[in-house]
Symmetry: C2
Subunit: 286 residues, 2 copies
């Protein structure tokens, strides 16, 4: 029997997944080949990756390159001023679910939406109604729905779901534990004093579907596109990762970084820095 | 007896207070004379207004112009990496309390502070310790301390106190109901699903010391200095005002707007727009 040295040193890139938007300048095909070559294990596609392409062909291409298709970003944006707007959102989410099925993605991420000036409680009601409306299609397709709580600074027009607690409440209301869960992104939830308890509660309800990583820079100069690489900001990523690991979560750790600064870099160099950052965070504990 | 028409139409500017930083280009003396001439009832000074001046003379000048001195902004920033830094913060807060006493301000506003990368729970512990350290001076001076919860987007380096609930917890720990309370600013707390209950709890504990107003613009383009005039954003100000009024709060409604855009305007025109906005919000209910 040949000694396998990997047995004594676990793969330092285990469970590393990248969101394609992290390397936005790259095409769908470049993301697949570059991630695969770098030893990344999973890929989360954004819907723009599928434009002009067959989702099933993209999914096959990723799997043939050794990548696990982790999810599709993103559905959501359910609230609207009128029933026509809300119906259009439901229709769009049904298309997203169908794309995810063809792609072979086990879940879609929901950025739930908000309407400036509309009461947040009303928007949350519309979000629950919107998810309920697409649930039959999700079940039929075998595609789960992951509510992503967004930071309260996005409560005006991106999401009325701003804490893990609120996301859990919507999941409870919908009562479909197998189909509706939560995507926990450290950028949005790191400040929450209830975070540890909420991570536990989410996992106990078997609805921790995804774990997203980036960092919060000081100062942050853009509301959307100035996120940091793990280690260059103030988010206690190791601490939060320990809480997530302690629940038994064994899914991917997904890197999702919106950054005008990093998108302006050579993307091969940027990918190399991401891999290094991930290794230094996780290599000691697989 | 002469008929006083004011009896039938309550002063539409009742309880209107301005923070001097709202008209930052104006000198201390201009703020006093302009606010007074516009019919504003109260003034909250910022510490830069006192530089090179006698606080007691500034306070006297404001009162002689018919303005109530509402508070002094700001103390706080208690957390630090070292005990030397934390002691420097305590000393600075003692100076702030002494200035407020001389000025005749009944309370100072605390922006509590945070240290990037330091655990928020540790920063909150240091905040409670810092407030406890200056409490004797505050009591001796008769100057109350108003903790201002800051929006979670400031949790990196401005405040580890990000909800009314956390501020109430610190007040409970300190156990000085007459001296330590809360400044509720709609900009920071509007998104909080517990807001109505927290306002009630704060008022029941007799610690709702201040109520600050501005608005949240969509989009907001600067993390600090792009706040909106009431009515141009998404904050449900009328709703929150009703919750505050329902507690019996009868203090000032303080306008505090950081805005590069408005600071670049003619400040007399800007003041006029603030007054109009306040009137349209509150004239029907004094």
């Amino acid at each position: 029997m040949i000694y396998d040295h990997r047995m004594s040193s676990p793969n330092p890139l285990a469970r590393l997944c990248l969101h394609t938007i992290t390397t936005k300048p790259w095409s769908t095909e470049e993301c697949i080949s570059r991630y695969s070559a770098a030893g990344v294990e999973g890929i989360t596609f954004w819907r723009y990756n599928l434009e002009g392409r067959s989702p099933s062909a993209v999914g096959r291409q990723a799997r043939e390159a050794g990548l696990e298709v982790v999810s599709l970003c993103r559905g959501g944006f359910f609230p609207g001023r009128t029933s026509i707007e809300r119906q259009a959102a439901v229709d769009e989410n049904r298309r997203c679910i169908e794309e995810a099925r063809e792609l072979g993605a086990p879940h879609i991420v929901l950025v739930c939406g908000a309407v400036p000036g509309q009461a947040l409680a009303e928007s949350r009601k519309q979000i629950a109604e919107g998810i309920a409306a697409v649930l039959p299609e999700a079940e039929a397709a075998g595609v789960k729905l992951a509510i992503e709580p967004l930071h309260p600074m996005y409560a005006d027009d991106r999401s009325a779901v701003n804490t893990m607690s609120q996301a859990n409440e919507i999941c409870d209301v919908l009562g479909s534990p197998a189909m509706v869960g939560i995507a926990a992104d450290v950028y949005h939830i790191w400040w929450d004093p209830e975070l540890e308890a909420q991570i536990q509660q989410t996992a106990e309800a078997k609805r921790l579907f995804a774990f997203h990583l980036c960092d919060w820079k000081t100062p942050t100069t853009d509301f959307l596109n100035d996120r940091g690489l793990m280690g260059e900001g103030c988010i206690p990523i190791s601490q939060i990762s320990r809480w997530v690991d302690a629940t038994g979560y064994s899914g991917m750790r997904e890197i999702e970084i919106f950054s005008n600064r990093y998108w302006a870099m050579d993307q091969a160099e940027w990918l190399s820095r991401i891999v290094q950052s991930y290794q230094s965070l996780y290599s000691s504990r697989a």
